[in-house]
Symmetry: C2
DNA sequence: CAAATAGTGTCTTTTAGACACTATTCG
DNA sequence: CGAATAGTGTCTAAAAGACACTATTTG
């Protein structure tokens, strides 16, 4: 490998390097529930921003980046290890770079968002829990900021497409889709406008929902 | 400092760590010109993704993160060193984490956007140049992607506010503001709609522009 | 049948686009 | 004065909101 030197004649490897970690806001919507996030117990010795460890604190799952590993793979690894979650697509949100953030040294943390359909989220309840984002409380090390940014990103995504994160099982009715959007947005939506906005983006299966009160709704298969 | 150990009983400092760099899309609008970006010569030995150095290649300015330094400070340092630019506010765009990106080793690069008013951009022409983004050509190491994302971010910001990056000198007329918006958006905007959207967000100084052809326009002072 | 929900039609309000007309300056 | 630009009013078209009415199911 070629060695480049900078203006002070130092090779690349002569520079001190930060540890790099990932912290992830895992968002989901339980059936009939609110927009929720996955939290893990702080102080387990894995992840960033562990702090002095009160023992009862919760935090977003995270881990250190391994050599040559992609950030997205580190996110998936941390979730697999802690929550048995698989098949996801993490997105970067922001890099937290305050040198004093972590008392173990110089650690950069790349915050991520990962949206997980409820059925894919099987957690070890001794290590993790899923709580409505409104009830997350105060999290250490700026994790509330990550959560806020994650929710904002999710809302932006759902404002533009019917179900970009695949939170709904197919097929679904317009009512189910609207309920999901209201849960994500955190506010009620108008039936007429929602219909007008969504119907052109959906493909009807030709089937009808059965077993419900009222006129059976048409089923859609997503995009 | 307390030492935490992970599940393999390795202390934090035992992990291999990546070098971290910043690469910045510096955008500006020259008077009467197009939306433009700052490029520097590749192969100077500073920054990431230098490659084998053809000698004629151009790239976005970048540098390695120094110990304990904030990413934004590294961006400002790299711009100060290379272009005499000061007084800016870099924003993170994305972390490039392909382990094979840089032939000098494992380097993460945090892409940034920095929007600079033309008068603040005094460059050393032997090291750097400012070219319309449309004429940037093929840049190495995904820098075109950074540029695209930077332009998209800038457009989003200007769709929401009159002059979020302070590209216009105060006071300004509505026509000047519209011209700026058209330059940023890359397409003509309608006079009526633009007026309706912007006027409520502006504060008139009470003064009028002088020395121009036509009825003198009211001057505004921004937010 | 009553209650509940789906689907459709239509009216109103709001917003965006188009355009016309007046006002004021420079050359 | 004529060309150029600013500012305002108004007409029209499109989009969003509101609401009524019909259709079809469960209990």
């Amino acid at each position: 490998m070629e060695i480049y030197r900078d203006s002070h004649d130092r090779a690349l490897t002569d520079y001190p390097r930060p540890s790099v970690a990932v912290d992830t806001a895992v968002l989901t919507v339980p059936p009939g529930g609110e927009l929720s996030a996955l939290l893990v117990r702080a102080g387990a010795g894995v992840g960033t921003g562990t702090g002095t460890g009160t023992g009862t604190a919760w935090r977003l799952p995270g881990t250190f980046l391994h050599e040559g590993e992609l950030l997205a793979d580190a996110v998936l690894r941390s979730l697999r290890t802690k929550a048995g979650v698989s098949g996801l697509s993490p997105r970067q949100l922001h890099v937290f770079d305050d040198p004093a953030r972590d008392n173990r040294g110089w650690v950069l943390s790349v915050a991520h968002l990962d949206v997980v359909p409820w059925p894919s989220l099987t957690i070890d309840e001794s290590l993790a829990k899923v709580v409505p984002v409104a009830d997350a409380g105060a999290l250490p090390y700026g994790h509330n900021d990550i959560l806020d940014q994650a929710v904002a990103t999710l809302r932006t995504r759902y404002a533009a497409a019917p179900d970009p994160a695949g939170l709904l099982e197919h097929p679904f009715t317009l009512r189910q889709l609207q309920h999901l959007h209201e849960t994500v947005a955190g506010e009620p939506l108008m039936r007429d406008s929602f219909r007008r906005a969504m119907e052109p983006q959906l493909a009807a299966t030709g089937e009808l929902a059965a077993g419900t009160v009222g006129k059976p709704a048409r089923l859609f298969s997503g995009a």
